[in-house]
């Protein structure tokens, strides 16, 4: 089954994305969001723009913070049990159980607020990833 993504040309260089629905079990919160397909990221992570958009109160997440490093610097994020859903072009639903991370410190720079949430290897490794930027195609396959 193929889940089609898209390439966002608002990024330099253009970046592969996929639309997903997430359900944060601890908060009983459901939302849709575009996720950057990031094979360099160990974990699926919700960054500031979505934390702000969804008004997530990270103090309600019970598990302890974990530290993460990136080109944006050091940050802290809390793990939380999450269901991530994708839909195929033929209308089938695929659901993955994951422990997604939610950034739990204030955004250190306005520039970082623009960054999208990330689909990391914890989920991507369950799929084949097909990324052909020259033909404008991206999809994950199971």
């Amino acid at each position: 089954m193929e889940i089609k993504g898209y390439i966002n040309y608002g990024y330099r260089p253009p970046a592969p994305f996929i639309a997903a629905m997430i359900f944060l079990k601890e908060l009983n919160m459901e939302a849709k969001l575009p996720l950057l397909i990031d094979t360099g990221a160990s974990s699926t992570m919700m960054l500031w723009r979505d934390v702000e958009r969804l008004k997530i109160n990270t103090t309600l997440l019970r598990k302890e913070d974990k530290e993460f490093t990136g080109l944006g610097g050091l940050t802290k994020a809390k793990p939380t049990p999450t269901t991530i859903s994708f839909t195929s072009e033929t209308g089938e639903l695929l659901e993955e159980e994951a422990e997604a991370f939610v950034v739990s410190i204030p955004c250190p720079s306005p520039k970082l607020e623009l960054l999208p949430s990330i689909l990391g290897r914890d989920v991507l490794n369950k799929y084949n990833l097909n990324y052909s930027p020259r033909t404008d195609k991206v999809y994950i396959e199971k």
């Binding site: 966002n8 360099g40 974990k66 993460f68 607020e113």
Partner: protein, 84 residues
Amino acid sequence: MSKTSSLQEFTDDIVWLMKSRDELIEKYEDEWVAVWKTTIIDHDENLDILIERLRVKGYKPQHMVIEFLSKKPIEAILWKSKAT
């Protein structure tokens, strides 16, 4: 609406935004835009203000495409857990 069709609508809005991006940037440069059923329904330079206004209008921002439009490309980053 089923989860599948709801997610498909969200995807359609994203695809529409990507296709219309160049045209929309001329009108909404350096602003956050909210898309619903392939239409820009609101926009603002401030994400918080936009979200609050959408809520007041009765929309559900958690189920909408909300993107920042800028002529300057965004540079993405990598995240790695310190423990791995």
